[in-house]
């Protein structure tokens, strides 16, 4: 075991970032032109980073598996983006945003990073407005805000229920401008499958052209991963179908440490499952909890009748409704953080109070708000979400309450990075959801957009320069050297292995099975026994997968099943590490809930003495246990207390 040094400047918290910025090494404009950077992923983090690096003068190559950078899954973020502007004069400040984020993460994130995030949040809003993002405005033309889970003030800026889309299109615009200028080269429909390490530094990638199936090599002076999270290990999630953890996993296998893999966020407000062939779960924005009230029937008989379809929600009189979030958490009410809301929903459903045919749903009711504010206001705030809900379920939420249930949404865990956002492999950076850094054990709503853009626009451009300042003498690397041969061979061997099986079951079959194991044993509540079982089951499933998976057609041509198979092959290994990490963390915190460690009221029971660290796992080989390295979390600004939203 190693104790990791995150390289945080040793000054008071509010001076850390400015100290770093004023003392970091710089690269002159002439030298920037000689340096190449690879960015993988075109979401908020990747697009904003690539655009900014291009503006600075670096030569950037950016990759996405979709047909256009605009499709990255940041586009699906609905609710908003946090910033400490304090336009409402409601007591916000950088410090308070920092505290809320730290507390929301159940004190498992690094103070210095979270403070920096809060510090740059305001600049993000400025930047986005200048890019022409049509944020909501009040009558006088000033920016409007709303409140979100885990905060008692309104600091969330939004563009209808499509904030992620608008912010991404802003970053995509900035990226397009650099593509036009020739500073950024776009490789769309390319799946990056391996990282090339030369003399201990990340110097390139191997990518598969998804149209031709050709395996290609790319070299650079640094590699930035902005691939998003690995929520699709669970098969059903709110992630896009193509979202994958493959490059995180490749990086891990190449020596980058994997931080807190078991911290997975389960979002309380998703549309419940409907059938066996369901391919994904759809999120209903957290912002709905501003005006919607969550409830189940008070009486078990009513719940039974609802499940059988004998009565409808509106048949249950007010006095027989249990607004359980408001009951349990009077001060935050329906706006408690996601992990807490999710568990409360699960608790009610497990107790038999679920309201749909599967018993796995609760109501999110807008009747009171419609009465108070009028249908028009509600429509203006959530119109597109209500429409989306109606399209999927066939129910009209203006008339009957929505039904919701928690689903896998976001992964707080990810590649371990230091204060410079660099992994343990020199030259390999990780930004956005794919690093572990800012959200601890639970992410607050509207913070993912903030982190992605903070990393891409305002943090990485400084920190990568600090690293590249030592690389200016390095010439562009030819790709015909041994290291590239080897990395390409690894990819090709895996592809060919997928084609030399007994061809019995499809990729989806195994992915679904893996998802079921993960959800049942490594989901919302975990036990040591269950986790051990999950590890065994995953191992079995993995060997079955490699023996029997059926990948049709040819390897080096357009082959969507092969794309999936490569991703699922990585999930099969990743799932095991998630369970392993969850087993090692003998405490409950944020999204990680171990049944053995809970308070009498069923809340998370942290163990700060033993587990106030980031578990940074070091790969040792597939059949060996990984080594646990620790990034000790020191809290100088806050006193660790039991999180309370009561």
């Amino acid at each position: 075991m190693k104790i990791l040094d995150p390289k945080v400047p040793d000054v008071s918290i509010e001076k850390k970032w400015s100290t770093f910025k004023s003392s970091c090494k710089l690269v002159s404009p002439a030298n920037k032109e000689r340096l190449d950077i690879i960015v993988v992923g075109t979401g908020l983090a990747g697009a904003s980073a690539a655009a900014t690096l291009g503006e600075l003068g670096y030569n950037v190559k950016i990759f996405c598996y979709q047909d256009s950078p605009r499709r990255a899954h940041s586009i699906a973020a609905q609710g908003g983006i946090n910033a400490a502007k304090n336009y409402r004069n409601d007591g916000d400040s950088v410090y308070r945003l920092f505290l809320d984020t730290l507390k929301g993460g159940d004190y498992r994130s690094r103070e210095a990073n979270v403070y920096r995030l809060a510090e740059v949040s305001n600049a993000i809003i400025d930047q986005c407005v200048a890019q022409g993002i049509p944020f909501a405005r009040d009558y006088a033309g000033y920016l409007d805000t709303r409140s979100f889970g885990g905060a008692q003030l309104a600091r969330t800026f939004y563009a209808r229920g499509q904030t992620g889309q608008q912010l991404l299109l802003g970053a995509y615009g900035a990226l397009n401008r650099q593509i036009k200028e020739g500073k950024v080269k776009l490789y769309n429909r390319h799946d990056v499958l391996n990282i090339v390490i030369v003399n201990g530094r990340a110097r390139g990638v191997i990518a598969r052209d998804l149209v031709t199936g050709e395996i290609k090599r790319f070299s650079a002076h640094a590699v930035v991963l902005a691939t998003g999270g690995y929520g699709n290990v669970y098969y059903l999630s709110t992630n896009a179908k193509g979202s994958n953890g493959s490059l995180i996993w490749r990086a891990y296998k190449k020596g980058a440490y994997f931080g807190n893999p078991c911290f997975v966020q389960i979002h309380p407000t998703c549309i419940p499952l409907h059938g066996d062939f369901q391919s994904k779960l759809t999120l209903m924005s957290e912002s709905l909890r501003n005006d919607g009230r969550v409830w189940v029937p008070k009486n078990l008989e009513d719940a039974k009748k609802l499940q059988k379809g004998e009565i409808k929600a509106n048949d249950i009189p007010e006095e027989n409704r249990d607004y359980f979030l408001e009951r349990r958490y009077p001060s935050y009410g329906n706006l408690v953080p996601r992990d807490i809301a999710s568990r409360a929903v699960k608790e009610r459903c497990d107790a038999g109070y679920g309201v749909n045919s599967t018993g796995l749903a609760v109501f999110l009711d807008f009747a009171d708000s419609i009465k108070k504010l009028g249908k028009e206001t509600i429509e203006k705030r959530y119109g597109n979400l209500f429409q989306m809900y109606e399209k999927i379920t066939g129910d009209n939420p203006y008339e009957t309450p929505m039904m919701i249930y928690p689903a896998i949404h976001y992964t707080m865990g990810g590649l371990w990075v230091d204060y410079l956002l660099m992994t343990t492999v020199p030259g390999l950076f990780a930004i956005g959801e794919c690093n572990f850094s800012d959200h601890g054990a639970n992410r607050l709503g509207a913070s993912a957009l903030m982190q992605g853009l903070a990393d891409g626009y305002f943090i990485l451009p400084y920190t990568i320069g600090h690293y590249l300042a030592d690389m200016i003498k390095e010439k562009p690397l030819p790709t015909d050297i041994q290291e590239f041969d080897l990395a390409e061979k690894e990819v090709k061997e895996e592809i060919e292995r997928l084609f030399s099986t007994s061809k019995t079951e499809t990729v989806d079959y195994y992915h679904r099975k893996l998802g079921k194991i993960m959800w049942d044993y490594v989901g919302m509540s975990r036990t040591a026994e269950g986790l051990k079982k999950a590890i065994e089951l995953i191992k079995e499933l993995r060997s079955e997968f490699w023996k029997n998976v059926y990948v049709p057609e040819q390897p080096y041509t357009l082959n969507q099943e092969l794309e999936k198979a490569l991703r699922v092959a990585d999930f099969m290994e990743m799932g095991e590490l998630i369970a392993f990490d969850a087993l090692h963390r003998e405490e409950s915190c944020g999204g990680h809930f171990r049944e053995e460690y809970q308070t009498e009221e069923g809340e998370c029971l942290r163990n700060d003495e033993k587990f106030a660290y980031v578990a940074a796992w070091e790969y040792q080989g597939l059949d060996k246990e990984p080594i646990l390295n620790k990034d000790i979390l020191e809290f100088k600004e806050v006193k660790l207390v039991q999180r309370s939203y009561k």
């Binding site: 586009i75 502007k85 944020f135 209808r160 391919s279 999927i392 989806d508 969507q560």
Partner: protein
């Protein structure tokens, strides 16, 4: 529910392409259209046949990646949706469903139902942005925008770039797509400075890439999953006139 599917199969850009017919059974009405195709593909793989290639990603109607021409309508027989938001309850048991790719010279077919829409990216690269570098921005509330202007800009900005407008248009015109971006930026004070340059450059690129011209039939508006109004095309025309005279 049981269906007969007639699906366009084409091996590559140069292949001629043809329809193939498949029977599919026991589909529940809650199944989404793409899930139905997933089920079909599972079946085809197990029969040793090649699965149907189609684009999709977020499956919640926002990424704009999916796009199929189903029974004569882009995104199929429902209003204000993308293909992934189409559910089988919109069909009748026993229906024959014909599935085709977007057809436009500017969107060449890559395989089966997948088309290459990078022409859209190329148009936006010509100026579908405000040229502000990271760090240059003034304080956010120093730029005031009346809420109704912000709302109209938002209407235009909600374009997902799926290409249904091109697919629906008899001239395969990309005017609604281009207009959405031009209009969004021209409405905002930040975007006005580059407005003239932007509209000229984007239209020149659109023409160069082989899209047709607009004859105001409004088919694009009807099929747009985000309900973008052709009034934005009027604004584009206005901007274009202003830019030239």
């Amino acid at each position: 529910m049981d269906f007969t599917l007639k699906i366009w199969r084409q091996n590559g850009p140069k292949d001629k392409g043809r329809f193939e017919t498949y029977e599919i059974e026991n589909i529940t009405p809650e199944t989404s259209f793409l899930e139905m195709l997933d089920i079909l593909n599972q079946k085809l793989i197990k029969e040793g046949k090649s699965p149907v290639a189609f684009d999709h990603d977020c499956r919640e109607g926002i990424c704009g990646m999916c796009g199929l021409y189903i029974n004569g309508r882009p995104h199929g027989p429902d209003d204000d949706i993308t293909t992934c938001q189409l559910f089988m309850r919109k069909f009748k048991d026993g229906d024959t469903i014909v599935v085709e790719p977007w057809r436009a010279k500017a969107f060449p077919i890559i395989k089966d139902l997948i088309v290459d829409r990078s022409a859209f990216d190329k148009i936006l690269q010509e100026g579908g942005y405000i040229s502000v570098c990271t760090g240059e921005a003034p304080e956010a509330n120093s730029i005031l925008i009346p809420p109704e202007v912000a709302e109209e800009a938002m209407d235009a900005a909600s374009c997902i770039g799926c290409g249904a407008c091109v697919a629906a248009c008899k001239n395969a015109s990309a005017m609604l797509f281009v207009a959405a971006k031009v209009s969004h930026l021209a409405l905002l004070p930040q975007g006005k400075i580059e407005a003239a340059k932007r509209v000229k450059a984007m239209i020149a690129k659109m023409d160069e890439l082989g899209f047709g011209s607009c004859t105001n039939t409004r088919a694009c508006e009807i099929e747009c999953p985000k309900n973008i109004s052709i009034s934005h095309i009027a604004r584009l025309n206005r901007e274009f006139l202003k830019a030239n005279f």
